[in-house]
Amino acid sequence: MAGTKKLIDENGIRLDGRKWNELRPIKLQVGVMKNADGSAYIEWGKNKIMAAVYGPKEVHPKHQVLPDRALLRCRYHMAPFSVDERKNPAPSRREIEISKVIREALVSAVIVEDYPRTAIEVWVEVLQSDGGSRVAGITAASLALADAGINMRDLVVGCSCGLIGEQVVSDLDDTEDKEGNGDMPVAIMPNLGLVSLLQVDGVYTRENFQKAFELAIEKGKQIYQMQREALTTRFFGGEAQSTEVEEAAE
């Protein structure tokens, strides 16, 4: 929140050389884990995140069984070495909240009615953390669900936009998140055109709110193309190959 100082220069170029509406480099891999029923690995900026899915499987404890649909469980967890200062491995309040919003962002895409009385588990492990880890986690997790062959209405893809001073920017990295003026993680179901996660931090005029929100959706659709390619590579182009998509500056 310390202000605009050097996060963006007079030519609109950000610290890492990006324009206001550019994404950091993203790399996706599907089907990378041996035991999990489905998995995906994402590198997004400095984020390195593994998502894995087990299920549908038996529900334990039994009293949590949902008679008409699957129970979706989700844990977002940061490895102790993923951040600058070593993180205690026990789940923090922040991780508990993010686990909840990721679960809510994914559950409406999963056709849970197809799997009554079962559990589907989604494990998101942040191995290295940068700005936007929750949307990166969702993007990987929905690929892992698809990899596990779980019936879905649509993929879910996320992107975070925000503010540097009064400038709307896409895809904040860690420094921009901490020293910038606002962060807005958004997850969408791109084909259905619906928003499944929205959180807002910062102070936005009504105009900037709309601009950042719409930019997040636009960027999400762009990342969705990378998701499709990663799945294509997985199912038609050999196992666990990497889909590296560097966006041309616009």
Binding site: E97, E104, G182, L194, L198, V200, T205, F209
Partner: protein
Amino acid sequence: MMKKNHVVESITKERMVQLLASGKRLDGRALDQPRNLNIETGVIPKANGSARVTLGNTLVLAGVKIATGIPFPDTPDKGILMVNAEILPMSSPYAEAGPPSEDAIELARVTDRGIRESEMVDMTKLGLIPGKSVIAVFVDCNIMNVDGNLFDATSYAVVSALRTAKMNRYVVKDDKAVATDELIPVPVERTPVSVTIARIGDKLVVDPNSEEEASMDMRITITTDDYGNICASQKGEASTISPEQVLQAADTSISVGKAIRAKILEATS
């Protein structure tokens, strides 16, 4: 956990959706009309500030405690603000005793963000000795009766308690922060107002009660400041929202928030 009665719920929802189609709600409110809001401050004299808020039948008590603390390493000259919430087991037949649930943690964190992001409290005025000593403001919320929309009721209670809180003025002597007897207000700069909107069927309604929450697919909370800026938001529940409805909700939050802000200012000035 006690099971809710799903048969009654589904009949209620059917009736609710029919009514909403003609712009009405089961309890007679307009779609963008919040329930009756009542704010009483100073109810806990032992706390530095406190507020008892009822929003319809939802009842929240917030208490502010102020002490000195050690600043976070990355903000050596800023005070500390902590918002905590407990959904008391007495608050509903579904609440349980024990460590904070996922819901209570989300509630506390969303409330906290609304306060923090709006820069309601000027944290730089809470510094005492850089890197060593700052003022720490703890706000604890007791959710005492649940009838829907905990987010807004809790936020109004926290804002009201902070707006009326008094703390000792500190002076620095020999590199130590010493409390004087003089009581001064917490440095409040803005009045953020949270407005929660639920979607039932395809309609958006402001300030859902429990019955409406049982029928809603989606919930979105948007916090706005005195200048009509949006400073925090949280979409909740296992469903989606269209981009158009997000923008509609933003506009509603700004307009409804303005009226609620006036009530809060009235009750806390």
